[in-house]
Amino acid sequence: MSTVQENEYVTPTEGKYSSSIISKVVTVFSSALILISIVVILVGLLYLLISIIQYQDFNNQISIAKAQYDADFRAYVNKGNDPSTFDAWNPDRYKPKDAVGGYLNPTQTLRTGIFLILGAVIVIWAINKIYNIYGQKSISLSNEGVKINSFKLAYSATSPVKLTFLPERFIPWESILDIVVKKSDSVFALLNRSLNKAVIYTMDSSYTIESLSFQNSSALMDKLRAYGDSLDERVIDFGYGAQLAVVWRRMKRSKVGMLGIFIVIIFTVIAILAAVFTTIWPPNEISHRFVEWTPFYLRNPNYGSFNSADIKAAPALTQADGSPGYLFGTDHLGRDMFSRIFYGSFYSILIGLIATIISVVLGGFIGAASGYMGGLVDNITMRIADVLMVLPGLPILIMIGATFTPVFKTLNIEGAYYIVVFSVFSLISWSGTARYVRAEVLALKESEYIQAENVLGASNYRIIVKHIIPNTLSTMIIIFTLGVAGSIQAVASLAFLGFGSQSTLVWGDDLASAIRDSDFLSGKVWWVVTFVSLALFLLTLGFNLMGDALRDALDPRLKE
């Protein structure tokens, strides 16, 4: 500290700071508006998704209308009429109709979505600007020093008396200086010369700066960078490679968990085989060739037989003529249940995964952001999460399902309905993940390597994406695995209750149609419900067992 120039201590008597009432009001409103804007952006994204689906449907309908026109024209000419007199272009007959009668406009949906997103982005940008100027937390200047509440502070060296407070974590420096703060364990000041940034670290929410000094501290900087680098190295070295081995060793201890992994692997293999074995994908096409070709008792899952002997046929290894029988029987349309369960596993697992990914990723980001930012944003987010936590999901899921069923009634896009429904539902279901991740982040935030990242001038985004999220992954994996079990059940329940999509092969739909069948009610056709239920139960059990064992292996703290 030999280079400290004693005469350049600054007493901050003059400063640019906002009064606390205005700043509080601005802070509250901007936090609330930013949260609302985020929701609006999500809604806008949903609009975009729906517009894409509507466009696809629109194109479908156009090709159908064209085919219709061609057929009419051919019939007209075949009757011996003059082609030039064909004036059957009837806009009502050939106009492409969309899902619910030609009133939905994909362009309008797209425009609304873009408008919502742009509007929200502009609002966020404007709020950020306003917040930068007025939205300070309470800062009090006194002769003893500057008292700052959970704030990063910097002084511009060119005009030493001018204080600029910005809500960002880092404030540009014009030259090199050092900050001397009232020393305690929890407060220390560091600066980053190369990035022109300085940071005061604190574990407490408030601290007092005794004095400020200007100093050429390249030596300090070198020390700092060495510190930071070594920490970064350590993070990489003790990363996931080593951890995975430990986790696997712990996993192997739990026999029940291994059973779960076994079940999940079997079903995953089945799902992959389902995708591979199908020469026609998606398996909605009716193909007789495919039926002849089938190995392993597999038939086209959507091909119903018109032969009365094949309708509601009981499970059998071989048929009367020696050909492969229906392993799990057939349903009321003569469709082979073995194939339906086999191919249905693909969509049941895929939709369960996607539905969980959407909610876990949303919850993870919100939880990480709220834990990392802290303060009012954290407070508001967690109050919302509290309420969403206890809000029962099924009635809302039913409402969303009922809202979207009419749109997807005629759409032939596999899985689109469920993905839309569950992305809307994720607006509610993020809370559980967010709470766990937030707790994790709160602990992580104080760890040394995150602080080192901070010192090196990393942005919030970089810290969250590169350090916080990878470190909360183990929590996310547990939540994800258990969530998949829940999602598979939720998809099946939704389909079972009658809010399924006819274009997607999901197990719940089979159950739903089976229990409406009179022969099931009279107790004759037992196989449809039994085998589909069994598959559903085994898959859920597998994910639950695996998730439970993972929880024990990865994170003992999460143990209920």
Binding site: V256, L391, G393, M399, F404, P406, F496, D548
Partner: protein
Amino acid sequence: MSLGMYFIRRIFSLIPFTIGISVLIFFMFALTPIDPVNSVAGLDPGLQKNRDRIAASWGLDKPIPVRYWNWAYPMFTRLDFGESWTSKGVPVTDKFVPYVGNTAWLFGINFILSLIFATVLGIVASTNHNSVFDQITLFMTLVGFSVPNFVLGLVIQQSVASWSNQKISAIFYTAGGKSLWENWPAIIAAELTMLVGGVAFTTRLVRSQMLNVLRQNYIRTARAKGLTERTVIYGHALRNALLPFVTVIALSLPGILSGSAIIEQVFNFPGVGRSLIRAALAFDMPTVLAVNMFFGTLSIFMLIIADIAYGVVDPRIKF
């Protein structure tokens, strides 16, 4: 602060949360790019001709904020949820309020039964930690957890039907004119179905809480004093283990209640859940929104009850 004051303050905090939920639910429905008139009228040309009139009669011709106000204002001031879309002139409250009682007792019985079974199982499992019984209980609770309850309901229906050589519909579905109690096989089967999930969930909870408490120092002290194992378990451990339990149970109640939809659908039981599904299938959105509001408000109310109950049973908590 006295308990009464705290209670009053929490009741007032109900207001913003309820408004928040109403906004959430309403806009979730209203912002979807779907024309409700089309959903009901479909491609019926007769209805399509009158679509403007239908939309006006449902108040859909106004902008969304106005629609929200028209929906929410009567609801919050005089509990008027509006009129059903599908049956003309019938208030929405008539569509689900009469069934609240049915659902409540169906789930009340199940709740008490599962609490009793789970407490017994949980105590035995936790006092014999890592024994064979404990392992089996843990596995079985996971199994019970994983069975979707409609699957279990269907399996019970099928097995009872094949055992008694009768039709499922004859045993379980209320025929016209039958009273609720005459349909007792369905009620018993429904209780059994729900009991599996309920016991599984609660047993895991009791077990982990008990294990947590049994590790504490005061249990060691109690044993060191020479108290009998019985007094230690029931007098010291169980009471402390059940403390946080109160909160969890209160918070999970709305979820259990709303899960009724599936059970009620399987066994054709006249409850709130079934009326919700019927309304949703018929696209009677005012009823769907009202039932959602009902469950949402109930869950927040339970949040408050949980807080207060925890304060009452735990003498360490001061308001």
